[in-house]
């Protein structure tokens, strides 16, 4: 089964600075989807950004962008101009075809004022 690894259990960033969260995955497929989800404390998990593997261009959503390295099976999330509201658990996820979505263990991001 495909596995997703987030090697950073916790990260911290100063407000207004930039932080990068790491994610690697294991697959033999060429067509799949990758996601970053955000789970604020005691709040609903929401989608941050999504990347289709067949697209070479990295996805971007406002201050959030990804660095998708298909050959290296790496999918990192960059948060620019960090805000206090960015503090949350971030989960990387992989989905291929009809198979289950696979999640990493999560990275807890703290934003320091």
């Amino acid at each position: 089964a495909q596995t997703v690894t987030q090697s950073q259990p916790e990260m911290s960033v100063q407000e207004a600075e930039t932080v990068t969260l790491s994610c690697t995955y294991d697959t033999s497929e060429s067509d799949y989807y990758l996601f970053w989800y955000k789970q604020p404390p005691s709040r609903q998990m929401i989608l941050v950004i999504r990347q289709e593997a067949y697209k070479q261009q990295n996805a971007t959503e406002n201050r959030f962008s990804v660095n998708f390295q298909k050959a290296a099976k790496s999918f990192s999330l960059k948060i620019s101009d960090s805000q206090l509201g960015d503090a949350a658990m971030y989960f990387c996820a992989y989905k291929e075809g009809h198979n289950d979505m696979r999640f990493g263990a999560g990275t807890r991001l703290t934003v320091k004022p």
Binding site: Y37, Q44, L47, F91, H98, A105
Partner: protein, 112 residues
Amino acid sequence: DVKVTQSSRYLVKRTGEKVFLECVQDMDHENMFWYRQDPGLGLRLIYFSYDVKMKEKGDIPEGYSVSREKKERFSLILESASTNQTSMYLCASSLGHQETQYFGPGTRLLVL
């Protein structure tokens, strides 16, 4: 906006009780999922459903069952709750197989 709701935010049950967790989505999504979330383990799939009255086992179905009598509602049942089922339970739905999953707020279950 997609809305996924779960019947309870917090639940305390005793060992051996039968527990029902309800999930409702309002966007006519075909697919619905139940996960449990534990620290350091991420989200693990318990069961999912791609259609009414249809269910498939996920990674950790033991001790759980599900019911999907209507498209918008997906219930998770703990037939006889045990302390190792203390966890956060998340429901999700999606329109298609490749589509983004939308999550409910979660139910934090404590089994004493």
